[in-house]
Amino acid sequence: MAEEMRIVLRNYGKIDPLKIDDYIASGGYNALNKARGMSQADLINEVKASNLRGRGGAGFNCGAKWNFAYQAQADQKYVICNADEGEPGTYKDRLIMEGDPQSLLEGMAICGYAIGATQGFIYCRGEYPSVVKTLNAAIAQAKEKGVLGDFSIEVRMGAGAYVCGEETALIESIEGKRGEPRIKPPFPPVIGLWGKPTIVNNVETFANIPAIVEKGAAWYAGIGTPSYPGTKIVTLTGDVVNKTFFEVPTDTTIREVIFGFGGGILGGKAFKAVQIGGTSGAFIPAANLDTPIGFDAMTAIGAALGSGAVFVLNDTRDIVDVTARIAKFFAHESCGKCAPCREGTMRMHDLMDKINAGQGKAADVALLNKLGRVMSYSCLCGLGQAAPSPVLTTIEHFAADYNAKLA
């Protein structure tokens, strides 16, 4: 069986997160010092060569993204850590921030040096008040030690809006506004926070950075699947024996995650489906369980690794009911800016509820299909584009469950 491999969780449970000396004693801040000895361009090339891809969901090459911001001319640039982890079933960023906050700060500071930014923000979701306290304590210690140099970090708190996980909505929220996504282009590395070049990366992405800088791009690029190297923290929920988290190489298969690390289905029941990547992820049937979790392999089966949430359903579960519940989530979390998402998520919820209540017709399922298809390529941001995924994939793979509920 595949083994856990802890890169971003390298210090988790081993050090006292509120003692910066523990972090330093375990090699912390060596990477930042090493980075500062490199030219910005070399540093960015190193990150690029590692082929680290963003762990927030879009999977963009991290070094390439940094390069846009590095190339942009501006009197001020910003580094933002996206800690608005809102995908249901996901808590990996919390683990990093609770267990090893300095690794995040170090990763951000390396990014700051690379692109020429002296100010960082951590946008932490409002549901994590204790994490905010931990982060603030960690920042205070780092400042006292002087390890961050001229790089400052401030924590900002979200207030219950899933859409703020979208980077431009997040930027709007830091600016004190409604968390509504901006029109792209321009992209944040060119015009971001307060109009300045801004890098927004996920907590897990930043936590990878010190290890990459320290051990080198080649080392990292050799881990897991080549097109999406490294590890991924997966958080297991639902009908699985081990409802917990693991950090695994990206060539680990879904089957290994559920039946190896996860210990299989709870109560000796049979597997029905797994939703990976959070609530906007596709539902995956048993036939695809041998797919590796890496970004491109998942894309190939019409799914996405996303946040790394692994939500398992046993064969007694009513998948239409679960999908109806998910549809309500999106109706609640749509920001309401663009018409297809604002109206579409509401309609999806209505139609799913109707079918779930035994009042649906075949035409309603067909309408869901059309609506979902249109939303997936017409909505302004990723929320609306991804929202139909659970509906479309359950209709595709579990049509019998829908048919059984039709009036």
């Binding site: 809006a161 409604r178 029109i183 282009p185 109706a331 609640h332 979390e333 749509s334 920001c335 309401g336 800016k337 663009c338 018409a339 297809p340 604002r342 109206e343 579409g344 998520t345 509401m346 309609r347 209505d350 035409a363 309408l367 059309k370 609506l371 298809r373 249109v374 390529y377 017409s378 909505c379 302004l380 584009q385």
Partner: protein
């Protein structure tokens, strides 16, 4: 230049073009809903989505810039399905009462629904079921019809900087609401009605008073008298299917007579009168050390704005009532007397390019005649509707004159309808009063045009008078902040609430783009040019009213009937 291919047509378009602009260049119209030619790009309706080769996602044509070699397809099955579905979604959340709607046949959503032949909407009709906001006498909001394009918010917060409108909640609960979710009357709204022009549908409109007019006309005891504001005629032409400005004034009068108005008079008469009162007020302030700069007071949206946002500057406002209200107090006194009609029998109607005038007429202090001075105010749009309802065929009508005593006007009054017009009219008169010589060229062209803020200097016998003009309250704010800071170099400032002045008033035919406003400005100056008399103090009927009734500008009678005072609006929630 950037080379693109649109629906197979190769084109070279300017750098920075959007798909929408590029397509227009090659003669392809892409449908839009939230797009507004004078506003920021919103890209929130997604009706304009197109395919771009190599991209799974459709791109909003209004926001997506073109790039070299871009291959765009604007009407593939995927695009058509997306646009139709989006329209179905919007329509299913919108009342299906087009027949009863104030914007029937003039609605962007209705047009799109027709263009995309939306027949059996697969989505169940679901309307919000909210009450209409009827709290103001000027405009209503029907939140059920709102399509969340946000154009009204931009008109209110960026063009006018009034910030009465904003967003509430999110998702399908998101709404455009007056500040703090209150009724309009309890918001900072100054009732300019620019949101009406911005709205693509019938979610905001004027409060209609046509039924009150019809009742008055039907009553044989009532003498229905109307005044027509300067900017109405040329824009009304558009409402009745003519080009801007083409409806001759005397034919307009004939049309009103045919509908049943007993007497047709002109607000232009009191516009000329205003010049005499306001011009003299300015000269008095200049010579006696009065509060300067003096602000014009013709625009009721502007008055509301000043009372709301600059209550500390109310002393700067000219005490002159607006021409509408001067007319109102004179028609039931001077004119009634001249005509031998009991003022109690007069029903005073005002035809205005404005919705704020409805509020102004309802102010409790506007009863100097002992009655409500102006009984009802109808907008240009309402008069257009009335003519359509009455079946008036203007091509067959013989011209008719205005009734006597308050129907004569000069070119100076005509230009009141344009930004800068009051200033220019005032200068024509003030110059001659002070210099005691004839002004040969009456055209003060520096006061003309669509520039947000215009300024000029006039040398009056060695005294240099500095004047400034702003239209659109966003521009007015700049001048006001200067005054508030004690840094204003001006003696006299003209403010019109609406962009372009009254030609762009909230009661004018729905005007999406500023180019239309500019077209109307041109029509105004053509009319002025053609007038035999172009200076207010040369208006014979105005001379007559001073001889017979008012005796002198700023005199006792004027004070009683033509001047007013202002009240700070204590609104804590701006």
């Amino acid at each position: 230049m950037i080379n693109v291919t649109i629906d197979g047509i190769k084109a070279s378009v300017p750098d920075g073009s959007t798909i929408l602009q590029a397509a227009k260049n090659v003669g392809i119209n892409i449908p839009t809903l939230c797009y507004h030619p004078d506003q920021s790009v919103k890209a929130n309706c997604r009706v304009c989505v197109c395919e771009v080769e190599g991209n799974r996602l459709l791109q909003a044509a209004c926001s997506q810039p073109v790039f070299e070699g871009m291959v765009i397809k604007t009407r593939t099955p995927k695009v058509i399905e997306a646009r139709k579905t989006i329209l179905e979604l919007i329509l299913a959340h919108h009342p299906q009462d087009c027949l009863n709607c104030i914007r029937n046949e003039n609605c962007e959503l209705q047009s799109l629904a027709a263009e995309y032949f939306i027949r059996d909407n697969p989505f169940e009709l679901k309307v919000r079921g909210l009450a209409k906001d009827l709290s103001t006498p000027s405009l209503f909001r029907d939140p059920n019809k709102c399509v969340l394009c946000r154009r009204c918010i931009e008109a209110c917060s960026v063009v006018q900087i009034v910030n009465a409108l904003g967003l509430e909640e999110r998702g399908s609960h998101a709404m455009v609401v007056p500040s703090l979710g209150k009724d309009l009357i309890d918001s900072p709204c100054i009732m300019c009605g620019q949101c009406i022009h911005a709205c693509p549908v019938g979610a905001i409109g004027e409060v209609e008073d046509i039924d009150k007019l019809l009742a008055a006309i039907a009553d044989p005891e009532t003498v229905v008298v109307t005044q027509i504001a300067p900017a109405v005629r040329l824009a009304l032409s558009e409402e009745i299917g003519m080009n801007t400005g083409d409806l001759p004034m005397e034919v307009f009068v004939a049309g009103l007579k045919q509908i049943g108005f007993d007497h047709v008079l002109h607000t232009n008469f009191t516009a000329d009168l205003t010049i005499l009162e306001e011009g003299n007020e300015l000269l008095k302030r200049l010579s006696t050390g009065g509060t300067l700069p003096m602000f014009t007071s013709c625009s009721p949206g502007w008055i509301n704005f000043c009372e709301t946002f600059y209550p500390d500057l109310l002393d700067n406002l000219s005490t002159c009532k607006s021409p509408q209200q001067m007319f109102g107090s004179l028609v039931k006194t001077y004119w009634a007397d001249k005509m031998g009609i009991a003022p109690s029998k007069i029903f005073s109607v005002s035809i205005m390019p404005c919705v704020a005038k409805k509020f102004e007429a309802s102010r409790p202090e506007m009863n100097a005649s002992g009655f409500r001075d102006v009984d009802i105010v109808l907008t240009t749009r309402e008069i257009g509707r009335l003519f359509r309802m009455s079946g008036v065929d203007f091509r067959k009508l013989a011209p008719q004159p205005f009734s006597p005593w308050m129907g004569e006007y000069t070119g100076a009054a005509v230009i009141f309808g344009a930004t800068g017009g009051v200033m220019e009219a005032a200068l024509r008169t003030v110059y001659e009063v002070v210099m005691q010589e004839t002004l040969e060229d009456v055209n003060f062209t520096v006061a003309r045009g669509f520039e947000g803020i215009k300024e000029a200097e006039v040398d009056l016998n060695g005294t240099v008078v500095k004047v400034a003009i702003a239209h659109g309250l966003g521009h007015a704010r700049k001048l006001m902040d200067q005054v508030r800071a004690g840094e204003s170099p001006y003696h006299f400032i003209e403010i019109m609430a609406c962009p372009g002045g009254c030609v762009g008033g909230g009661g004018q035919p729905i005007t999406k783009a500023n180019v239309k406003r500019i077209e109307r400005l041109d029509a105004i100056y053509i009319e002025d040019e053609a007038m035999p008399v172009r200076k207010s103090h040369e208006n014979v009927e105005v001379k007559k009213i001073y001889e017979d009734f008012l005796h002198e500008p700023l005199g006792h009678k004027s004070h009683e009937l033509l001047h007013t005072h202002y009240h700070a609006k204590n609104k804590s929630f701006l």
